[in-house]
């Protein structure tokens, strides 16, 4: 099971206009980068569980998430 860490900031990939364009809220965006430490996958989704399932299925050992508030 992946370890979840709470971080101060992650870039937004879902923007306000996306909500008007996808009322059902199915939109997911990912950005994949090769770094010196390995592969970094940045994800954003209207449904957080969707991106979490994807990252866990990819075998992420550590998943960073922002908190609300």
């Amino acid at each position: 099971m992946a370890e979840y860490r709470f971080v101060e900031h992650l870039p937004d990939l879902i923007h306000p206009d996306d909500y008007a364009g996808d009322p059902a809220g199915r939109r997911v965006r990912i950005q994949v980068r090769v770094t010196e430490q390995g592969i970094e996958v940045l994800g954003d989704a209207m449904r957080p569980a969707a991106i979490e399932r994807l990252l866990e299925a990819l075998g992420a050992e550590r998943i960073e998430q922002m908190l609300c508030g």
Binding site: F6, M46, R47, C68
Partner: protein, 351 residues
């Protein structure tokens, strides 16, 4: 998890009564309260909340506070635990620790002097957010003792579920509080959170009376509070607590036990703003969905934009000592003493 002595309790026959939140747990020796982070030990209580799972330095606008020291940052701590069990909670990995066995304890003990010194060095406030700060009352008191001599304000983002006796002790330590108003009546509030609504409204009124700066947040929850009648009722509740209280309307995100619902549409948020304004609330905000206008503070008398905001940041204020530069109207809040403009690049925060 480290347990430390707690305050806010009294004997109740063979039990010890926790007097911090209105759940009022009567605890036998060794028993843990409904919050899962306070327990009885001997004739007293212990708390696990003298700890934080975060040490985040972020904008005060994120809490959200829009009328409190705009442009300030907040060193944000979060002790795990919550007195509510809201079905939609986006922070359930930290708020529902103790209720969901798969969630780990991720907090580290807090040293108040260290936190206060760090906040002072950054010119930041100290915020307790993400989880329920009421349950970290002892840590709040200790942080306030360390922060006060340094001029560092303490702010809370809270569900407002606190006894009035406890609040009487804590409120003098708080400079600003953002209270969640989650449902328009007792039945729906209990169904959503597992707790009654009346104590939240009582705490909201008590905070206003105590002179703490208060803002209110409401997530638009499908089938719970997002119909026009419910929004009207909640707007009236906010207005009764204070006609100029800023009200933040938040988009619902399908999460936790409400993953089958749809996110709130921009149209629904716009309609909710209109309902709030009809109820007489002049300061109603939506962070993203309505663009810059949804975040702007306008003078209710002359319409001049007196605070312009980006996403999670203040761009500029034209208020001098809280007065509109156009007509002199007093805009309620805790403002900087003179007009202010951010020097940070606004491109960091797309609009």
């Amino acid at each position: 998890m480290r347990w430390s002595p707690a305050e806010f309790h009294q004997p109740a026959g063979a039990d010890v009564l926790c007097t911090l939140c209105p759940h009022g747990c009567r605890l036998a020796d060794g028993a843990i309260g409904a919050c899962r982070v306070r327990r009885r030990r001997g004739e007293g209580l212990e708390t696990a909340t003298f700890a934080s799972a975060t040490w985040h330095l972020d904008a005060i606008e994120r809490k959200p506070f829009y009328h409190f020291l705009p442009g300030t940052r907040a060193l944000t701590l979060a002790a795990p635990g919550c007195s509510f069990a809201c079905d939609y909670c986006q922070n359930y990995r930290i708020s529902q620790v103790g209720r969901l066995p798969e969630l780990p304890w991720s907090a580290e003990p807090v040293e108040p002097e260290e936190v206060a010194a760090a906040a002072a060095a950054q010119g930041a406030a100290i915020a307790l957010s993400y989880s329920e700060p009421v349950l970290a009352a002892e840590m709040t008191l200790a942080l306030a003792a360390a922060a006060r001599p340094r001029g560092v304000p303490i702010v809370w983002k809270t569900n407002g579920f606190v006894t009035l006796d406890a609040l009487a002790r804590i409120a003098p330590c708080l400079s600003a509080v953002n209270v969640d108003l989650k449902a328009p009546d007792e039945a729906r509030h209990r169904a959503l959170t597992g707790a009654p609504l009346a104590p939240v409204l009582a705490a909201l009124a008590a905070l206003v009376r105590a002179g703490v700066w208060v803002e209110v947040s409401t997530p638009l929850l499908p089938g719970v509070n997002d119909d026009p009648a419910s929004l009207r009722l909640m707007a009236q509740m906010v207005a009764r607590s204070g006609e100029t209280i800023p009200w933040h309307l938040l988009r619902f995100t399908p999460e936790f036990r409400m993953r089958g619902e749809q996110p709130t549409s921009p149209q629904a948020l716009g309609d909710a703003v209109a309902i709030a304004r009809e109820a007489g609330l002049p300061y109603v905000y939506v962070e993203r969905a309505l663009g810059p206008e949804g975040r702007a503070t306008r003078c209710p008398r002359c319409g001049e934009e007196v605070v312009a905001r980006g996403i999670w940041c203040t761009l500029r204020t034209s208020l001098g000592a809280g007065l509109c530069p156009g007509c002199g109207e007093s805009i309620p809040g805790r403002w900087r003493s003179s007009p202010w403009q951010s020097t940070a690049s606004s491109s960091t925060f797309p609009t």
